[in-house]
């Protein structure tokens, strides 16, 4: 009997030799083009029958060297890089970056801009959760939910387009405030969306929550203990579905989140269904925050009073010499950021997003590291799926809600 050279696969048996006895394992290559890996994740699964004995994730297919790119862009240009990391939550990325730089610059952001940031970041959370719910459901076999979710996502993208001119790569938050003045009529547009949204969430729940197939595919699946998750670097809704109420919006409030009334939903079942429930409830809480931000929006300027950092108004630039000089300086060489280092964490839809920014006092960052939630979460995949059935892998990894751009950077 000869080996075929492929692990676990034996060559054809000739003659009377007995067929190999004992356990036989097969290695299954899932991805990088598998649709339910939501990008280019590759999982090497070693199977004994239908049971996964070993799982090895292989990442890096989407590595673009964004952290290196930061070092040759000035601070204002670098905003556009952050969009492309977690492309389902671009405004959360923008926010993390701006907060880190603003901390080093000791900039005071006006209340209007802060509330606007909260509102748009929460819309981003809805956007991200809607994509997650639609694709997660389609993976498990519930086709129609996808269409419902993308219907509302389209409304959100239109709101983003109204604000920034872009549907996805918005780059709408800038160091010192916002990129543009909020457009006329945004209140009506957001109000129309948010008035209808809670009933839309009811629709998704009608389709799924009591659906016996959905329950059968998700309840009791994808368990991983809280201790393992904390030790393996998991954050976000995964932890909250295991009963740990950890949310940076509450524990380390930024951008005046402390002024908003909302709850951090938790479940204790710690399975795919609990993660679904947590994210559904997060959507309801986010719409509460959006409503509060919209109704209580303070008046005032939308960018900080810091002429050396924030671009002057177009009108001033054409009439005032000083404004013209500042404009020229900011556009040609950027602005200097005092020496120092900060680690700014925010709660992205996926979990803890941290920007570690090191400045050497010049107009370009010396080093930027992004502690992205998907990278930490993916590390727990082997622990979660080993010993379970291959049919449950898709439900398990879907419940993690990772984005490969966020993982590989």
């Amino acid at each position: 009997m000869s080996e075929s050279g492929i692990p676990g696969i034996t060559a054809t048996v000739e003659g009377d030799e007995p067929i190999q006895t004992g356990p036989r394992r097969m290695v299954l290559n899932m991805g990088p083009q598998h649709p339910s890996t939501h990008g280019v994740l590759r999982l090497l699964l070693e199977l004994d029958g239908e049971t996964i004995m070993k799982c090895q994730p292989d990442i890096g297919y989407l590595h673009t060297g964004i952290e290196k790119e930061f070092e040759v862009k000035n601070y204002q240009q670098a905003v556009t890089l952050t969009d492309r990391v977690d492309y389902l939550a671009p405004l959360s990325m923008n926010l993390g970056w701006c907060l880190a730089a603003e901390k080093l610059l000791a900039l005071e952001i006006p209340a209007h801009a802060q509330w606007m940031r909260v509102m748009l970041t929460e819309l981003t959370r809805l956007n991200s959760h809607l994509v997650w719910l639609g694709t997660h459901a389609i993976d498990i076999g519930a086709m129609s939910v996808f269409l419902y979710c993308f219907r509302e996502r389209e409304d959100i993208l239109r709101i983003f387009e109204m604000f920034s001119g872009q549907r996805m790569m918005t780059s709408y938050f800038r160091i010192g405030g916002l990129a543009l003045e909020p457009p006329r009529g945004w209140q009506q547009r957001v109000k129309k969306f948010i008035d209808g949204f809670p009933s839309k969430v009811d629709e998704y729940e009608n389709l799924l929550t009591n659906n016996p197939i959905w329950i059968g595919r998700t309840q009791g699946i994808g368990f991983i203990s809280l201790e393992d998750m904390l030790d393996l670097g998991v954050t976000g809704p995964m932890l909250r579905a295991a009963g740990l109420q950890l949310d940076a919006r509450k524990t380390a409030p930024y951008t005046s989140y402390e002024k908003f009334d909302f709850e951090v939903p938790t479940r204790t079942e710690n399975d795919v269904f609990a993660r679904y429930q947590v994210r559904i409830e997060e959507m309801r809480q986010s719409s509460r925050i959006i409503r509060q931000a919209m109704e209580g929006m303070p008046a005032g300027p939308w960018k900080a009073d810091a002429p050396h950092v924030v671009l002057p108004d177009r009108e001033k630039m054409k009439t005032q010499m000083e404004a013209l000089i500042y404009h020229f300086k900011i556009v040609t060489e950027g602005f200097r950021v005092p020496e120092g280092e900060v680690f700014q964490t925010i709660e992205s839809p996926r979990g803890e997003l941290g920007f570690y920014l090191v400045s050497d006092g010049t107009s370009k960052p010396y080093r930027v590291h992004m502690r992205t939630p998907s990278f930490g979460n993916l590390q727990a995949v082997p622990k979660m799926v080993e010993g379970t059935l291959i049919a449950d892998v898709i439900a398990s990894i879907g419940s993690m809600d990772f984005v490969l751009g966020d993982t590989d950077r």
């Binding site: 890096g60 790119e69 030790d231 393996l232 670097g233 740990l244 950890l246 280092e341 930490g376 590989d408």
Partner: protein, 157 residues
Amino acid sequence: MLPDNLRDRAVAAAVEAFDADAVTGGKFEFNELTLEIAIGKIVSVCGFLKFDQKFIRLSSVTAVDRYPAEPRFEVVYHLHNIEQNLRVRLKCRVRGEDPAIESVTPVWRSAGWYEREVFDLFGIRFVNHPDLRRIMLPDDWEGHPLRKDYPIAGPRA
């Protein structure tokens, strides 16, 4: 030695009391505590911080290249204590010639991928790491892109 202005920080004082030789410096800026740790003491200090001071989460491991200064690299650890909502940053200086540091994977399993990323992009070796391979780049890639002497357009440009 722990700088005097950090003595009233409970975590800094605790690490100093645990091992007086471990802390080589530190600062408290932007409401963030940074402790510089002697390179040989990193695993014992991390173990102390996790099991005694309840920093149960390792948030990230990364590095900064201070080329051409020597020691060239700073390996940076961000720790998180959930109960008390505390964060601390540890820093270790690593030399530029054949850079290596002890792995903290025995303390936190999450260090596995974080350290592989640093190994891949900076070329810092983590001793006792169970699976030290490249993680982002192909296995046959030459060079370590996040080093300051690596050109932005790539090695062949």
